[in-house]
Amino acid sequence: MYWLDKITEKFSRQVANNTSRRHLLKRIGLTLAGGAAVPLLPVARAADTGGGSGYHGVAPQTSDNPAADPGDPASCDYWRYCAVDGFLCSCCGGTHVSCPPGTGMNPMTWIGTCKNPADNLNYIISYNDCCGKTSCSRCLCNNNVGDTPPYRAFSNNDINWCVGMENSTIYHCTTAIILGVATETN
């Protein structure tokens, strides 16, 4: 999401004074002209050029099985994040499949379908939110491939999916957990 690129810039400019507005706009323009199939954040492109995870001050990570599950779970362009909306738990004391200490993982959530570039299979991804502490605020990431309006709630990423948590519905961060390989029917 292009404007999220700019929010990211807004909140990281204290540590990244070398990123000028003009530079940012230029990069957005390049994105538009390129018509990328999946919105690529400028931060992600920074990663492509050796700039780390793409978030200033966040070092890159790998999954437990980088060959079969490639990419950086602390980067917004990690393949599982194709329909994520929120702060990446990988940057917040958890991982892409676990919540940070002291939070609670909501089993009820929204799902997306993302293609793994390693095997070209589409996987159903469950974006379980971690709840009970204030916004992590780190590694904000929003991609909307397959996102639907809230009348199709379980594929909508605007809803606070800490809904129904007994102790606290305060949103903290989001994971991206494989539920299975998608078939034609699902």
């Binding site: 700019k6 538009l32 605020s137 904000l140 639907t148 009348y151 809904v163």
Partner: protein
């Protein structure tokens, strides 16, 4: 002689600079008029980076300075609505007794427009208030602003009905998995459903369901979903779709009339794949029958919330585009003020506000300085 003149000038200067200032009053707190000018806009700041500390900031978009008029606190995916029949505004929010934990309280808080201070509240039972990145249609009036409706999501969906004049909770009515609140001009409201229909709920004076039925399907969420964020002109809701159709629904009568859909796009627009996109993607200037839609080229799956480079202006009677406003900065949410010479307020990609003249399309001013963190929804004073 020169020295004498210089001495005289210095003496005069000293006399002026040493003039004693009057004693000033403490405490001293500003107040606002009970009725706001048309040029004031409520910027609803969800504050995604600290959701428990959201707020609504009141901005005069016509003013070059002192345009931050005041603010209202709100918490955790709150909803906001301003009355037009009395000097009050309302915040629906959720609070925990130990801030992040403890007992949850959902409530509507009444604020008076003069002091922006709380003057009453209605506690909502059941801890069901729907939490979603801010939408206008999660808090709406009905029955000439006597009833206030609050959207619930658990994920079962329902609506809490409040008599806001008496500040009393009346009832909870189920809406069968459908979402949002689109009031008619009568005592009924619509909600969008996943089978492409609108569920219409009729209430009696006590807020109980008197009738509930579904319209025929009027859009296709599989091929071209409609946004749940319409603009309203003369009681007709205009729902844009992801791919650039508009589905009008006439809500003047108690039962809606589904009007013919029409396209926002001309042939060249289709070739360039222009689409609506952003957060608050539509707004309207009712007096002139103009609909405004935030647009972007090169649309694709997932670009529907990405914002846009232009605001397109449509005459809804002619179903025709009558203007294009090219934005100075990337836009995310748009709102048009009422009045003869309206302003276009835009939440830009930096989460600051740009202001344009609707008459000329000219960019007028920028309102920033971290007045807000993530002002996703803008409400023009009505």
């Amino acid at each position: 002689m020169k020295r004498a003149i210089l001495g005289l000038m210095l003496g005069f200067t000293c006399t002026v600079s040493l003039a004693e200032l009057p004693v000033e009053t403490i405490p001293n707190v500003e107040t606002l008029p009970a009725s706001y000018p048309d040029t004031w806009v409520y910027a609803h700041d969800t504050n995604f980076f600290s959701l428990s500390d959201a707020k609504v900031v009141l901005i005069d978009v016509a003013a070059e300075n002192r345009n931050y008029k005041g603010s209202i606190p709100s918490s955790h995916f709150p909803s906001f609505l301003a009355a037009t029949t009395r000097p009050e505004v309302y915040v629906a929010e959720s609070l925990y007794s130990r801030r992040m934990r403890g007992e949850r309280t959902d409530l509507v808080t009444n604020y008076d427009k003069v002091n922006l201070a709380p003057v009453g509240e209605v506690v909502l039972p059941g801890a069901k208030r729907g939490m979603i990145v801010t939408h206008k249609n999660t808090l709406q009036f009905l029955d000439n602003e006597k009833l206030l409706l609050v959207y619930n999501f658990t994920p079962s969906t329902s609506v809490s009905v409040v008599n806001i004049e008496n500040r009393a909770f009346l009832a909870e009515v189920g809406i069968g998995g459908c979402v949002m609140i689109y009031p008619s001009q009568q005592r009924s409201f619509g909600s969008l459903c996943n089978d492409n229909t609108m569920l219409v709920t009729h209430l009696d004076e006590k807020g109980m369901i008197s009738k509930q039925e579904r319209t025929p399907a009027f859009f296709d969420a599989d091929t071209d979903p409609i946004f749940a964020k319409p603009a309203v002109i003369d009681g007709v809701y205009y729902f844009p779709s992801f791919k650039g159709m508009v589905h009008p629904v006439d809500m003047n009568a108690a039962d809606p009339g589904m009007l013919d859909a029409w396209s926002l796009l001309q042939e060249q627009d289709r070739q360039e794949n222009w689409r609506p996109g952003g957060w608050q993607i539509t707004t309207a200037h009712e007096a002139s029958g103009r609909l405004f839609v935030l647009m972007h080229p090169d649309g694709e799956d997932g670009s529907h919330k990405g914002g846009g480079t232009e605001v397109w202006v449509f005459d809804v009677d002619a179903k025709k585009r009558v203007g294009r406003i090219v934005l100075k900065e990337w836009g995310v949410s748009i709102e048009v003020t009422k009045g003869e010479h309206p302003y276009l307020a835009v939440t830009n990609g930096n989460m600051d506000m740009d202001v344009y003249s609707v008459d000329t399309g000219e960019w007028l001013r920028f309102i920033g300085g971290r007045a807000f963190e993530t002002p996703f929804i803008l409400h023009a004073s009505r």
